[in-house]
């Protein structure tokens, strides 16, 4: 068995599902049902979070191995098993999911008024799928969870979304599905060659270099859409704009990380040569994402769209960091994903706070919010600054490590990555100015009330985390130190030329 003494990962994964089932069977008057559904969902997600904290305390940080491993034969004839486990790269993502879900439920407490029961059930299913995704050690299971995430998210956008929700939901669904179909083909191919879908066994077996490029591209299609990388990013702003606040939070906080995590978990170890070969392509796309989408963000008049574009730019830093293949870059990328998970979630929550009051995402409808909502202004400022990667906040650590590691590859790559520093400051502070500063001219703004206790409760953990991750990131970096080191080692051994490339760079 594992360090916890019981199948903890399965429990964390399927407890929300059980909660969803319970909610689905609640019957009675609509008001009572809604209230019961909310409380059941909240308690389920809180208990799940509590359980997942065991991972935080019992995880052995010095080991790069999979921990809390569970394995059940599923289709033994086909080499398919139900395998769960977490290593340093995934454990914190599990915690991110279990942390954000209760916050999302809190954030949709009053703002979701119709079909509350279905909404809460959808959220719990979503949580189960996300946690399962990060725990899966079997490729088929990985794929199943990857797809399973789509359904509740599709419903959340399509049912509880804004005016153009159907368009956005379909765009989201089709984009991601198109990508993952290619991945499915690649998975079948891998299974056909090796006869198993166990990820570790596949990595062990290796893939012949001549297939690597195509397989890499197939996986890339799925992950690049999820990240999203330029130019397949346009589903994201639409999805964000139409999604309810909590949907945006999960979308930005966790769903985007499925892609980045996929690169780290599968693309790099399975196809090292192809990764190395295609790294320049990824760098180009990443730098374009950073610069181009930052520009696009500047032109936005919709708060959510602006933050959505800023997410694309920040995820560009992540993909760039991953494909530098060195310790700083990979650590920075993983850290940046976690940091972005906290910060962009918090920013969407901030927008949600305003949206709940004014029912508009139009920046021009605001102005002078700081005057009437001072506490909110502080929180919003903190997360704006975090998004700008101010040192002392979480994002800085990630961006700093990625820029440092990009410098190892090329000066101009580092320059491209760092350009985001200027542009993010421009669009973020301009947004803040237009929303929070200025004179209060509208009665709707004058009548605003500052944050409610429930909103304080939602933001408190995020505020704490963003500062903790910024000031003492060691608590988090130490989780994946060993895993990243072994990943880098593995990659360099596989590429072989790693040392040669390095020598070339130094000689230049």
């Amino acid at each position: 068995m594992n360090a916890a003494g019981f199948p903890i990962l399965s429990l964390i994964t399927f407890l929300p599902l059980a909660g969803a089932l319970v909610i689905a069977f609640v019957r009675g008057e609509e008001q009572v049902v809604a209230s019961n559904a909310r409380w059941t969902a909240l308690w389920t997600s809180l208990i799940t979070f509590g359980l997942s904290l065991i991972l935080w305390f019992r995880f052995d940080r010095s080991s790069p191995e999979m921990q809390f491993v569970e394995r059940l034969e599923w289709l033994p004839d086909y080499g398919v098993a139900y395998g769960m486990g977490v290593d340093g790269l995934s454990v914190l993502f599990v915690l991110l999911c279990t942390l954000l879900t209760p916050l999302c439920i809190l954030a949709s407490w009053d703002s979701v008024e119709v079909r509350v029961r279905e909404y809460m059930a959808a959220f719990l299913v979503l949580e189960a799928a996300m946690v399962g995704f990060f725990c899966a050690t079997d490729l088929l299971l990985f794929f199943l969870f990857f797809e399973m995430v789509l359904i509740p998210m599709f419903l959340i956008i399509g049912i509880w979304g804004g005016e153009r929700r159907v368009y956005a939901a379909f765009k989201f669904f089709l984009y991601t599905l198109a990508g993952s179909l290619l991945m499915l083909l690649a998975i079948i191919f891998l299974w056909y060659r090796v006869g198993t879908t166990d990820i570790a066994a596949l990595v062990e077996a290796g893939v012949e270099p001549r297939f690597q490029i195509w397989l890499f591209l197939a996986f890339f299609a799925a992950f690049a859409v999820k990240v999203p990388m330029w130019p397949v990013h346009t589903w994201l702003p639409d999805a964000h704009v139409e999604a309810p606040t909590a949907g945006s939070v999960i979308l930005a906080g966790v769903l985007l990380k499925l892609g980045g995590y996929g690169f780290v978990r599968l693309s790099l170890p399975l196809f090292p040569q192809a990764s190395a070969e295609l790294a320049p392509l990824i760098f180009a796309l990443s730098v374009i994402a950073i610069v181009y989408t930052s520009y696009v963000a500047l032109a936005q008049e919709d708060m959510k769209k602006l933050i959505a574009y800023s997410s694309v730019a920040h995820m560009g830093i992540v993909t760039l960091g991953i494909f530098t293949f060195n310790h700083q870059g990979l650590s920075g990328a993983v850290f940046q994903m976690l940091a972005h998970g906290i910060v962009s979630s918090a920013l969407f929550l901030c927008v949600g706070v305003l949206y709940n009051r004014i029912h508009s995402r139009d920046i021009a409808r605001y102005g002078g919010v700081a005057k009437v909502m001072p506490a909110f202004a502080v929180v919003f400022m903190l997360f704006s600054m975090a998004n700008v990667a101010l040192p002392g906040t979480a994002n800085f650590v990630g961006e700093f490590l990625v820029i440092v590691s990009a410098m190892r590859v090329s000066f101009w790559l580092a320059f491209g990555a760092a350009l985001g520093m200027i542009l993010s400051a421009a669009y973020m502070l301009w947004l803040y100015w237009r929303v929070a500063f200025g004179r209060v001219t509208r009665d709707s703004i004058r009548a605003l009330l500052d944050m409610s206790p429930r909103e304080y409760a939602t933001f408190a953990p995020l505020v704490l985390l963003v500062l903790w991750m910024g000031i003492y990131p060691q608590s988090f970096l130490s989780f994946f130190e060993a895993s990243v080191a072994s990943l880098v080692e593995q990659h360099e051994a596989a590429v072989g030329g790693g040392a040669r490339r390095l020598a070339e760079i130094l000689a230049r």
Binding site: P231, Y295, N326, P391, G392, I403, M407, M421, I422, A436
Partner: protein
């Protein structure tokens, strides 16, 4: 003591910022003042212990970032260089907190103001006590944040918000270069701790990167970062606009402390800059041009704070070219004295503005010197120090700067000397133009304002008097240690001079006219100001009319803002709209949307085929059959 000097301001900021709403403004502001007083006691004690007791020390706190070989820690490094800054920053910050108690007395959101001010001080102290480049960057960005918040303190004014945004973004341009410099430093030295970098400089003298010596590249990148923070020409445009903030802020941040961070950085990295001669030449030229440029612009401005802001810009230029010729000690000395007299001038200006019912245009002042005699006197002291008149603080440091520029015997050094001398003349001229227009002549304000002109309360005058005393004595008292015979013992190696750099010795061997020149230039500038504005007040207007082109060029600050607006700001916004409307909405979204439309059309078309009419089906079958058969024939024919 070492920890207290840095963290007391943070404590004050937290108490005032988070609890200020409950404690009320009075308790909040006095809490921060008391915390600053404690910090100042600690800071000055630390300065004495480290600089005169020769006990450099490093207080480790904890690890910050460790990933692979990259390790960065939180620590407080106290050597003479940082101790000088800590002592100066805590002391001046305390005085400015005290002054603000009077100046901001009628402001409704004081806890916020004092929290920002203390937060700034904390960040500045983190910057100067950093023992690695990343912590320095933490402080660097932290002071940027505090500066942004304080410039935009009156956030209901659109101009204040614009200035705050501009300050942050322009600084970020410099920070980008700083960041790249840090990254390059890591791959060159394998460490970001100062001690390990400085110890390994001589192993990397011949390393090259992108075809240039790596040390040169690092030095240039770091210097570009310094240009942003210290408002050197090209990246200076944010500083004059930053005067939108309350006046004590201008005194603390945009005169005495934050803007000097760039100079501090160059001095801190002196072991590296010393081996990057081309980078130093760039530093010299940029500094000299800035000193001259800002002084010319200062001569024609009409806003009392903007004149002093350009003066700051110009004085920072002096510090840079002093560092550029290798005399970091002299640069630090000017930084030190400048902090006193420039803070004095700003606070004096604040006192004037306070007295004139928030008027800042010097054309609407005049004739008030009898009504606010103390302010008048301290403004005189500050101006004398700024102009470099003997026995005042500025005399010792500015003279030394021009001497080292001359003594460097390089082309860039001579350029700096010439421009510096011209700037010294202009400095004296605009200082006295300001003094005369503000205090003398006929009152040009309306009657109501003049009725209200009053001397500031004691809580504002005490800091002014203390700073005035500093502006008189710091030069005389400290010059033996900073640049005089005791400099080696005083700096104790915290600033590095290459073995062949004897500039501090050579500066005493310049021709006899060199030390006299700045004083003469200063007196000439004062005399000219008296002639033009006191005795022949019609002349400036006539001069402006006859040299209209030059006048407008200067009045519009060499058209930097217009240029940047045309080259950067507007194209950026246009490009961003283009990227969104055309790039994203038309092209990128056009493909899937187009595909969707096609799919729908195709589906409609397919639906139309299934019309249910037998004739249609038969026709389709025949067409299909023909196509099929012809394909088979084509296949066999080959």
């Amino acid at each position: 003591m070492y920890v207290g000097a840095v963290f007391f301001p943070l404590l004050g900021a937290c108490i005032s910022g988070f609890l200020g709403r409950w404690t009320g403004p009075v308790a909040a502001r006095w809490t921060t003042v008391v915390c600053m007083a404690l910090a100042a006691v600690c800071g000055v004690t630390a300065f004495i212990a480290v600089a005169f007791g020769h006990e450099p020390t490093t207080v480790p706190i904890t690890t910050w970032i460790a990933a692979g070989g990259l390790e960065v820690s939180w620590a407080l490094r106290y050597d003479t260089l940082s101790a000088v800054m800590v002592g100066m920053v805590t002391f001046i910050s305390f005085l400015i907190h005290l002054y603000s108690v009077g100046y901001m007395a009628h402001d409704p959101t004081q806890p916020r103001f004092f929290a920002y001010l203390s937060l700034f001080t904390f960040m500045m102290l983190m910057l100067v006590t950093a023992d690695n480049l990343v912590q320095l960057f933490f402080g660097w960005e932290g002071v940027g944040l505090a500066s942004y918040l304080l410039i935009g303190y009156w956030y209901e004014r659109e101009s204040a918000n614009a200035a705050a945004l501009k300050a942050f973004v322009v600084n970020r341009v410099g920070d980008l270069c700083f960041m790249l410099g840090v990254a390059l430093t890591f791959w060159t030295f394998g460490s970001l701790e100062f001690a390990s970098i400085f110890g390994a400089v001589d192993q990397h003298l011949s390393d090259r990167f992108l075809g240039v010596p790596v040390l040169e590249l690092i030095a240039v990148l770091l210097f570009l970062g310094a240009c942003g923070k210290s408002a050197q020409i090209g990246l200076h445009t944010w500083l004059p606009d930053a005067m939108e903030g309350p006046t004590p802020v201008s005194a603390l941040i945009h005169a005495a402390t934050m803007v000097t961070a760039g100079v501090f950085l160059v001095a801190r990295m002196s072991p590296l800059f010393e081996y990057a001669p081309n980078a130093l030449a760039i530093v010299t030229v940029v500094g000299a041009v800035t000193a001259f440029f800002a002084a010319t612009v200062g001569c024609v401005q009409n806003d009392i704070k903007r004149i002093i802001a350009y003066s700051t810009c110009s004085q920072l230029g002096y510090m840079f070219f002093a560092a550029g010729v290798g005399a970091y000690q002299v640069a630090m000395f000017h930084l030190f004295t400048h902090a006193f007299f420039k803070a004095l001038l700003f606070l004096g200006a604040g006192s004037v503005i306070h007295a004139m019912s928030d008027e800042q245009d010097i054309r609407k002042m005049g004739g008030i010197w009898t009504k606010i005699p103390v302010t008048y006197a301290v403004m005189w002291v500050g101006s004398l120090a700024l102009a470099g008149i003997p026995i005042f603080a500025g005399y010792y440091s500015k003279d030394a700067i021009l001497e080292v520029a001359f003594a460097s015997h390089s082309a860039t050094g001579m350029l700096a000397f010439a421009l510096g001398l011209a700037a010294a003349f202009l400095t004296a001229f605009y200082s006295w133009r300001l003094l005369i227009l503000v205090f003398h002549g006929e009152p040009r304000a309306d009657h109501e304002v003049m009725e209200h002109v009053h001397e500031s309360p004691l809580v504002m005058l005490v800091p002014l008097l203390v700073l005035a005393a500093g502006a008189v004595v710091t030069g005389y008292l400290f010059s033996p240690f900073f640049i005089g015979e005791a400099w080696q013992a005083f700096w104790a190696g915290s600033i590095h001079n290459a073995p062949d750099n004897h500039i501090l010795h050579d500066m005493h061997e310049v021709p006899a006219w060199v030390p006299l020149a700045p004083t003469v230039a200063g007196i000439a500038g004062i005399a000219l100001a008296y002639i033009l504005y006191m005795f022949a007040p019609g002349v400036p207007a006539r001069l402006a009319a006859s040299f209209r082109g030059l006048y407008l060029f200067l009045l519009n600050k060499w058209y930097f803002d217009e240029l940047y607006s045309a080259v950067f700001v507007r194209p950026t916004l246009a490009l961003s709209r283009l990227a969104f409307r055309v790039g994203d909405q038309r092209i990128i979204d056009g493909v899937p949307n187009g595909a969707a439309v096609l799919a729908v059309d195709a589906a409609r078309g397919a639906a139309r085929i299934q019309s249910g009419r037998v004739a249609n089906y038969a026709f389709t079958m025949i067409i299909g059959l023909v196509l099929f058969v012809s394909l088979i024939f084509l296949g066999t024919a080959r």
